[in-house]
């Protein structure tokens, strides 16, 4: 009798457990800005969007483009048109139907809404034609292969046309993703609830997701350890061992699309007129004085990935024939002597985060052995951006969060027509421009790789940027969280996630 009672109790309790609402609490590194894919600016906002807004296409862990709201696609008219077939039976979270008209509305909104941050990403799109209810045709002004990758990010996010028209969209976003918006308290939390009519609802297991912005990485980890959070992003590399040793926690990491390097002022005002800015031998000497592996070990406990290109070594577009140069202090000294600059004084502007400052100090020590006198200028981030754009720097230690398509990591930093605030070095070469344009014009990976190889030959020799390392996405989570897969774009995709 006792056994039967116990079994009954177990059945009831497990049923109750199953019925109770599951909440996943995610600690973010910052508070996202506007929750409108067209206007959004921050990287961290993309993590919230991953749960809120489906995109036309997505990426897999190997950066291949895979279907999401579009089920198939084909390039046409000499790569000047992209035809997409759309998924049937998809509705927005307000019950509106997702169809070709909604796609046309969204792309036109990206292109025309004042202040749109997406316009620059898809400005090759001339028009969107509705072929039929489930088919759209993107007509381009020029061949533009990176378009697909752009559509796998915010430019491909589809919002409800009805909700987008009411003027308060960013406060109450409505998309077609697995979770719908519930509430936002600025700087405190963003709450989402499962969308019951999601087209892929079998892949969604958690009832609610609460995003909590906690900028300090130590406090974020403390919250995870104390059970106030279930999953955190951007674990500090020096805390990874703590996470690994904690039996209550699980660790996950993956390569990112990001890089950090030293941008050198080559032609941006009077501060470029010094040996470093004018003589490629001095820049080569600086690169040769740095031991990237040691830098990674000392500053990031070896958790990041040393690199010498705009994409990480495990990216399919990495140029294998150009490996990371080894440290060679003797050769660096020779180069400085040949350049008649045996002890160049270099001012290195560094955003004043602890991590960047640590890296700058290691670079300073390493470069000193070759003869460089590096003067570190710790600068608040927004100020450094302004100084970078104005050319008020000699060298600038700065990172880029990265884009899925390699074009997003190089074009805006090396093309003559790049935004002045990004191409702070004011690097400009007609030859590079031609190769970058050619790489945009084809969707054939081998052909693009050949163009990028030519770009790399030149850029890595001219060194407008000395690429140093690629951060990794580091996550920690409670052992109760299952089904988590890290992606190179750093987004937390809720599909498949469970709290056990």
């Amino acid at each position: 009798m006792k056994t039967v009672l116990l079994a009954a109790l177990l059945v009831v309790s497990s049923a109750l457990a199953g019925a109770s609402a599951q909440t996943l609490r995610i600690g973010l590194g910052e508070d996202p800005d506007l929750l409108d894919p067209t206007l959004a600016r921050s990287r961290v906002g993309r993590i919230v969007f991953a749960a809120l807004c489906d995109k036309l296409v997505d990426i897999d862990r190997d950066l291949a483009i895979v279907p999401q709201l579009a089920t198939e696609w084909i390039w046409a008219d000499d790569n000047k048109a992209l035809i997409m077939k759309l998924r049937r039976g998809v509705t927005f979270q307000d019950g509106e139907k997702f169809d070709a008209a909604a796609v046309k509305f969204n792309i036109e909104r990206h292109l025309n809404l004042p202040g749109s941050n997406r316009k620059a990403e898809i400005n090759a799109v001339q028009s969107v034609e509705i072929v039929d209810d489930q088919t759209v045709k993107f007509v381009l002004s020029r061949p533009f292969a990176p378009l697909l990758a752009a559509l796998s990010d915010r430019a491909g996010m589809m919002v409800s046309p009805k909700a987008a028209g009411d003027g308060t969209f960013a406060s109450h976003p409505v998309c077609s993703g697995p979770y719908k918006f519930v509430e936002r308290v600025a700087q405190d939390r963003i709450v989402l609830a499962r969308f019951s009519d999601y087209w892929n609802k079998d892949a969604v297991h958690v009832d609610r997701i609460v995003f909590l912005p906690i900028p300090d990485s130590t406090v974020r980890l403390a919250n995870l350890q104390s059970g106030s959070l279930d999953l955190i992003e951007r674990v500090d590399p020096t805390n990874v061992n703590t996470v690994k040793k904690d039996a209550r926690l699980r660790f996950a990491d993956t390569s990112s699309l990001a890089y950090t390097g030293i941008t050198i002022n080559l032609n941006n005002g009077p501060k470029s007129k010094n040996p470093l800015g004018q003589d490629p031998r001095v820049r080569q000497a600086l690169e040769l004085s740095i031991d990237r592996a040691a830098l990674n070990q000392v500053v990031f406990d070896g958790m990041f990935e040393p690199g010498n290109q705009w994409i990480s070594p495990d990216n399919p577009y990495h140029i294998k024939s150009m490996p990371i140069p080894s440290r060679d202090v003797a050769k660096a000294k020779q180069l400085l002597a040949a350049a008649n600059a045996p002890r160049p004084v270099v001012s290195l502007m560094v955003p004043n985060s602890p991590e960047m400052m640590r890296a700058a100090e290691v670079i300073q020590a390493m470069a000193a052995e070759a003869g460089f006198d590096i003067r570190i200028e710790a600068t608040e981030f927004a100020t450094s951006l302004d100084r970078g754009a104005k050319g008020d720097f000699e060298a600038y230690l700065i990172g880029w969060s990265g884009r899925t398509d390699p074009d997003g990591n190089i074009y805006n930093f090396a093309a003559c027509e790049a935004p002045p605030a990004l191409n702070a070095a004011r690097y400009c070469s007609p030859e590079i421009d031609r190769e970058l344009a050619a790489a945009r014009a084809t969707d054939n990976r081998a052909e693009r790789l050949a163009h990028y190889e030519k770009v790399a030959e030149r850029v890595l020799a001219d060194r407008p940027i000395i690429y140093l390392w690629h951060p990794k996405w580091l996550y920690a989570m409670s052992r109760q969280v299952a089904g988590f897969s890290p992606y190179p774009d750093g987004l937390i995709r809720p599909q498949g996630l469970r709290v056990e």
């Binding site: 506007l34 600025a186 919250n223 927004a382 805006n412 935004p419 605030a421």
Partner: protein
């Protein structure tokens, strides 16, 4: 008294105007272009131009100030560029959080500071006096963020009895509200307690050597009655003033504490706005702080007069 009060209240308006001018001018001295800071990673020139135009960043500084002032007179403090919400709404949302934190911190400070000051004065020169003074020195010297991290590690990570950060409104749950605020209130209140203790101690020492205290003792009153009824009452007059005047310091101290404990209050709003160059928010928050400071000063003066009738005009 009435005329004096009226004069003081009438001065608030011009003072605020002067403060607003100063804040506006100082904001312009901040390095960095707000349009670049707000344009996001893409740094699209079209977006940068749009931000400049929408938020009048392309207009001369005096015109921008006039536009802002005109808005304030209409009751519009402007809009946050970063999250596109009215500044007044943000302030209304965040101010109660910080006020509650500052109130709790004050309570912590008074509960620790006043008794410690009284004991130190009564036991002047003893081991207790030196110990209390040393503790006060530690309270003043320990940085907020460091103490905050230690408390988080002990009570949240090791013992698991308090949440490491965040905020729950009292309307949602009063228990959870207090559990989220207890550590920040201790951190913020400790340094303040040290100051209160030192003021109480010196005021008590002065009062305890007064003739009327000697008379009270000569009359055969018990020591407890002498200290608590006769001495403390008068010693608290300057302490109350110091507390009221320094309450504003609690608001500014909350800036750091709110960062450590991720409390979505006034201080965190201000820090984030400064880093993001969200000028309308910076201007609105600092104006609101200035108003609070002026009102607290006025309150302190009124309290001082109420407690010490000899000073009444």
């Amino acid at each position: 008294m009435g005329a004096w009060l009226l004069r003081r209240v009438a001065l608030i308006g011009p003072t605020l105007l002067l403060v607003s001018l100063l804040i506006f001018a100082m904001q312009q001295l901040l390095p960095g272009d707000p349009a670049l800071a707000l344009a996001g990673e893409n740094q699209d020139p079209a977006v940068i131009a749009h931000i400049r135009q929408t938020y009048h960043l392309d207009r001369p500084i005096p015109v921008r100030y006039a536009l802002w002032l005109e808005g304030v007179l209409r009751g519009d403090l402007g809009q946050s560029i970063r999250i596109q919400r009215p500044v007044a709404d943000l302030i209304a949302e965040k101010l109660p959080v910080t006020a509650e934190l500052a109130g709790l911190a004050l309570l912590v400070a008074l509960v620790i500071g006043v008794p410690a000051g009284v004991i130190a004065a009564v036991k002047q020169g003893s081991v207790i006096d030196h110990s209390v003074t040393l503790a006060a020195l530690c309270g003043l010297s320990v940085p907020n963020f460091w103490l905050g991290m230690l408390l988080i590690l002990l009570f949240s990570v090791e013992l698991g009895i308090l949440p490491a950060s965040g905020y729950v409104s009292p309307g949602e749950s009063i228990t959870r509200n207090l559990t989220t605020l207890i550590m920040p209130a201790i951190v913020l209140g400790t340094a303040f307690a040290a100051g209160i203790m030192r003021h109480t101690r010196s005021a008590m020492l002065q009062v305890l050597s007064a003739d009327y205290i000697r008379l009270a003792r000569a009359k055969g009153l018990g020591e407890a009655r002498v200290v608590l009824r006769h001495a403390l009452h008068n010693a608290l007059i300057p302490v109350v003033t110091v507390v009221a005047l320094n309450f504003g310091a609690l608001l500014s101290g909350a800036v750091l504490t709110e960062q450590v404990f991720t409390i979505p209050g006034f201080g965190k709003l201000l820090v984030d706005a400064v880093f993001n160059r969200d000028y309308a928010v910076v201007q609105g928050v600092t104006m609101c702080s200035a108003l609070a400071y002026l009102l607290l000063n006025l309150g302190a003066d009124i309290a001082y007069l109420a407690l010490n009738p000899r000073l009444r005009p």
